[in-house]
């Protein structure tokens, strides 16, 4: 079950917990666009300490503008960056324009 559709705007949680986290530090808090749905996988944050888990999380490919990811980005304004992010790290970004 996926809660986000391709084309939807999402915001990455600006959260900084301890533990094994697959969401890179540099992209937390950024807003991006769902561009692909990768399927569901065992939640790595749980499997990290238990070995395996039956809890799965949908994984999405999220596209960000490079200038949103890096404050000092000096490349082209249309350059993008794709990051694969688990659903529990995403929040809906309602009303935002693409």
């Amino acid at each position: 079950m996926s809660n986000y559709a391709i084309g939807e705007r999402v915001q990455v949680r600006a959260d900084y917990p301890l533990g094994h986290i697959r969401t890179p530090f540099y992209i937390r808090g950024a807003t991006g666009l769902i561009v692909d749905s990768m399927g569901a996988f065992p939640n790595p944050e749980i499997a990290a300490t238990t070995g395996t888990t039956t809890e799965t999380q949908p994984l999405y490919r999220v596209r960000f503008s490079q200038k949103d990811a890096w404050a000092d980005y000096s490349g082209g304004p249309r350059d993008t960056l794709d990051v694969e992010i688990y659903e529990h790290w995403l929040e809906p970004q309602s009303g935002a324009t693409q």
């Binding site: 600006a14 900084y16 533990g19 530090f25 808090g29 807003t31 499997a47 990290a48 395996t52």
Partner: protein
């Protein structure tokens, strides 16, 4: 920066391995031929994570590497981190005692006629509750 710190957490936690975007050294792009021991560490990790043993899969390996301590992490090379992670997880889960590993290392050294080796930093042995000290 788009990643705004949480106001209730003025110094957001950043794992020492999570270095994307930070300034770093020049990347060595030369081809690295794997040493036999590196291949063996890789094989060991694979066997420990197979369906029969289910002891150490990719998530657990990474978690062990990310919790062995920054000093150790920075000191060790790629497969040394894997080896340290294997030791950490197997001793924490009580599969092996650190003493057994040390005795085995000594036996192999004796067999190969090695007098001394440069010790590499390793995660602390777990205490009696299996927790890392």
């Amino acid at each position: 920066m788009s990643t705004q710190p949480d106001p209730s957490n003025p110094a957001p936690h950043r794992g020492y391995h999570d270095i994307g975007g930070l300034p770093g050294d020049v990347i060595d792009q030369s081809e690295h031929v794997l040493e036999p021991w590196e291949k063996r560490v890789d094989a060991m990790r694979m066997l420990l994570g197979d369906d029969k043993r289910k002891l150490l899969r990719a998530d657990g390996l990474r978690n062990a590497i990310e919790t062995m301590g920054e000093d150790i992490y920075l000191e060790l090379g790629y497969y040394e981190r894997w080896m340290a992670a294997v030791i950490k997880v197997l001793t924490e889960r009580g599969v092996l005692e650190r003493d057994e590993i040390d005795a085995r290392i000594a036996a192999v050294q004796a067999r190969l006629g090695i007098d001394s080796v440069t010790p590499r930093p390793m995660p602390a042995a777990p205490d009696s509750k299996g927790q890392q000290q």
